[in-house]
């Protein structure tokens, strides 16, 4: 078998490796990052610039006065600011305890498999489009609120409370999954040590795991708050849209039971169309967007600052009740005398009572209520999905998917809506992928810590930017300034920009998890940085690219707000034949319009059918991403 020793000869020749002076990879990365950062800065600058006229017209009254009557050229946005805060406060008050309670159950009490099941359900639900939430809100939640609070003599079921509750359900998955992640990140040894001291399971969670996870949990709540502040479509459908209705009875339930208006719901409404062309009115409307951006930006950046590694590594604060033990020991004794002292002390003062006091009922009650939170969260969400498929099932037929709309939505199918949505998200993917790869490389390969953190902040900000603001930006830039009118490309670009943070973060996570030895091995062979990037880093982190893209696409597919002003119309568009003035139909916009305007009972069926179809697309995308995500989760746990 053994071949004779092969003489070492030059069987092939090598040439000196090709070394470029500067790297295309770096250029690519810089361009992608510049586009992303430029977009964020550009959006803020654009909004600020376009807001100027109203500031010179109304001055401070723009934010402090409560009179928005555009016909009279009065623009006071106070009631919308208050409305936004109230709606978000309701959402947070419901979603934070329920979400954290549920996260405690999933992370601490459920066995691995059950936890995974709950997590899958919750992550699927996180992808439900906001327009579908709105639809459910119109049909079920409005009536529920109206009937429940009948004794308060409500004007209608469209209240701040309704919008808040709807938002609570919408942000619940965010609170829950991120809190769960934060709790899981606390090492198991810490819990074991606490249990070893005799703490009950719940006390170990409450006194060890939860305090250590608190920064992550707070960040989760803040991110959810950011989403609540900026949600336009779902709130639009149930908040009542009553301008200038400032609460008169604070400290009662009353303000919550009135109709109202939020910054985002105003931006989702008809005034956008009316305002354009009148510089003052337009400035007032864009100013609402600017205010929203500032509010959401503050909250998201706060969350980002909290979770940045710098603050996480900071030492714990001095303890609250420090011992009064400043007194020096009486004798600088030798070991022996110290022991004698100790023995004496222990003999004199039996300070420790033998067995701890336990409050079993409290513990059972707490665990019970946390479990109830979990059931509530998963139950509500599953019920929603089932309701949509149940009501939509009668519309789902082959015809429904292959025909175009007829009779203003009452007949025919949604073929071109599906085509439109697919075209939009494909475009979004093409726009997003190169940029996201470029930004991810910039963040994990090229930038050092401080700058990488700065770029991370930009991504955070982009991720938190309410989708309605992408729509507003697109309206100004693509529809009007570039003169594209409504165009599928504008919609695709906007959705692509929206996806960037999701894809980038997923990529960066994988890149960070990549063992150093691979990179060292490649560099050890003499590969340059950029060659290492393309031969090791990107191939090894493609799982992140795939999952991030799928999740981003799931979100993009369901978005209404960015495309309603820029890319889609209700009827008549087919395959686009150009770019300018080439709108498409889409599923979410179809639902949004039919939810407000349907003249025929048959529309109802089609409406739910469309919602079911949209949900199928979104859930399919999330489900494809699921196996890879679970594997990543498992790797993270075992590592």
């Amino acid at each position: 078998m053994n071949s004779p020793a092969v003489p070492i000869t030059d069987t092939y020749s090598v040439v000196a490796p090709d070394r470029r002076r500067w790297s295309y990879t770096l250029v690519f990365s810089v361009i992608g990052t510049a586009v992303t950062a430029g977009f964020v800065v550009g959006m803020v600058a654009l909004f600020a610039w376009q807001t100027l006229p109203v500031l010179s017209h109304s001055g401070l009254g723009y934010v402090t006065s409560n009179n928005w009557h555009y016909r009279q050229q009065m623009f006071g946005a106070l009631s919308m600011i208050v409305g936004t805060l109230l709606v978000s406060a309701v959402a947070l008050c419901v979603a934070a305890p329920v979400g954290i309670g549920a996260a405690i159950i999933t992370s601490e009490f459920l066995p691995g498999r059950a936890r995974l099941m709950v997590k899958i359900v919750i992550e699927l639900l996180a992808g439900i489009p906001s327009v579908v939430y709105g639809l459910v809100g119109i049909l079920y939640l409005r009536t529920f609120v109206y009937d429940t609070f009948e004794s308060f003599d409500l004007h209608s079921g469209d209240t701040i409370l309704t919008a808040g509750l709807l938002l609570a359900v919408m942000i619940l998955p965010t609170v829950m999954t991120l809190s769960d992640d934060a709790l899981r990140a606390v090492p198991a040894l810490q819990r074991q040590a606490a249990r070893g001291l005799g703490l009950s399971r719940l006390s170990a969670v409450m006194h060890v795991a939860l305090p250590q996870a608190r920064i992550g949990v707070i960040a989760a709540v803040l991110l959810a708050l950011g989403r609540a502040l900026g949600e336009a479509i779902a709130v639009f459908l149930v908040v009542g849209r009553q301008d200038n209705n400032l609460p008169t009875q604070p400290f009662t339930l009353r303000p919550l039971l009135e109709s109202g208006q939020t910054l985002a719901s105003k931006l989702g409404g008809a005034e956008i169309n009316i305002a354009y062309g009148d510089p003052l009115h337009w400035a007032a409307v864009v100013g609402l967007g600017l205010m929203l951006l500032v509010m959401v930006g503050t909250v998201t950046l706060l969350a980002a600052a909290l979770t940045s590694p710098k603050s996480a590594a900071s030492p714990p604060q001095p303890v609250e009740n420090a011992p009064k033990h400043a007194r020096p020991t009486k004798t600088h004794s030798t070991k022996g005398t110290s022991d004698a002292l100790l023995t004496a002390r222990l003999a004199q003062e039996p300070a420790v009572t033998r067995l701890p006091k336990r409050r079993k009922w409290l513990e059972r009650f707490s665990i019970g209520s946390f479990a109830a939170c979990t059931l509530l969260a998963t139950g509500v969400m599953l019920a929603m999905i089932l309701a949509i498929f149940y009501r939509g099932s009668s519309a789902l037929s082959l015809r429904f998917f292959t025909e175009q709309i007829k009779l203003v939505g009452a007949d025919g199918g949604i073929f071109f809506n599906i085509i439109g949505t697919l075209l939009l998200i494909t475009t979004a993917l093409c726009v997003c992928t190169p940029i996201a790869v470029a930004v991810a490389l910039m963040q994990s390969v090229y930038l050092r810590e401080r700058a990488a953190r700065g770029l991370g902040m930009v991504l955070y900000l982009l991720n938190g930017t309410p989708s309605i603001l992408f729509g507003l930006f697109g309206l100004v830039v693509f529809v009007k300034f570039l003169g594209w009118g409504k165009s599928w490309l504008a919609g695709g670009i906007l959705l692509g920009l929206m996806m960037i943070p999701i894809v980038t973060v997923a990529l960066v996570e994988r890149m960070k998890a990549l063992p150093k030895k691979y990179i060292e091995a490649a560099r050890g062979l003499g590969l340059s940085k950029s060659q290492t990037v393309w031969s090791v880093i990107i191939p090894q982190s493609r799982a992140g690219l795939v999952t991030g893209s799928l999740l981003g696409l799931a979100r993009a597919a369901g978005e209404t707000a960015p495309i309603m002003f820029t890319a889609t119309i209700f009827a008549g568009a087919m395959f686009p034949r150009g770019i300018v003035e080439s709108p498409v139909l889409s599923l979410p916009y179809h639902i949004f319009i039919l939810a407000q305007d349907s003249f025929d009972p048959r529309v109802g069926e089609k409406l739910w059918g469309t919602a079911a179809a949209l949900l199928m697309i979104v859930m399919l995308l999330s489900l494809i991403a699921l196996p890879v995500r679970l594997r990543i989760h498992e790797e993270a746990v075992s590592a």
Partner: protein
Amino acid sequence: MLKLAQDSACCSTETVSPAVLEARGLSVSIAGRPILKDVNLTIQPRQVFGIIGPSGAGKSTLIKCFNRLIELTPRAVVSGDITFNQGSILSGALHPDDLRVRIGMLFQQPVVFPKSIYQNVIFGVRRLRMVSRRALPDVAEAALREAALWEEVKDRLTDSALKLSVGQQQRLCLARTLAMQPEVILMDEPTSALDPRSTEAIEQLMLRLKERHTIVLVTHNIGQARRVCDWLACVCVNNGVGEVAETACCDQMLDNPCCQAVVDYLKRN
């Protein structure tokens, strides 16, 4: 089959007082795989009882049975019985959390909470409301003295415990356990992560602590066993399952083991 060695003559004088911990026919399996089979042990009060044996034989599993921490491991099944002061701990008469108050534990890696030194020491007594709030500083001082850490940390009690060296952290963990005044302290290779000096400090502590406490020590360091243990049990693998091959007083076991598996084990070390 292994021949189980019984107490030999040289040790018999010490077996007069009633056992603190006793395992009878204890078997453990995890996820359907048997880990320990038919373990019988008797642990006398106020001594250091060592458990030695090759890696993976189930020493840590065994020691976790004594305070029922094994039940935190998913799909762990325990059969047989363990008595603590003649009462069964598996029967349910004593809640496992209360059991763990009386049987403290020290882990391989020191596990300090990311809090101040002071908060770490009083963590258990405070959370379980075992002493009045006013007494907490005294409890902390006593516990830190007992763990021979007081002199090193008395001026920086409010510093983060994470700033301590690993050896100090392990003594802090010991102080945290001592503050609860447990009768038994389980130590699962407490010095395996420590440097020789810290190891020596912990060993010194064990010798002092056994005046007031019973210590069950898992160690893979024969030298350590010889230095601190009074009694030893050797857990060996037989047909893939851990069994107690031999129990004897320290010198007897190390110098003159009866069982072939123990002989082999000692020879390899």
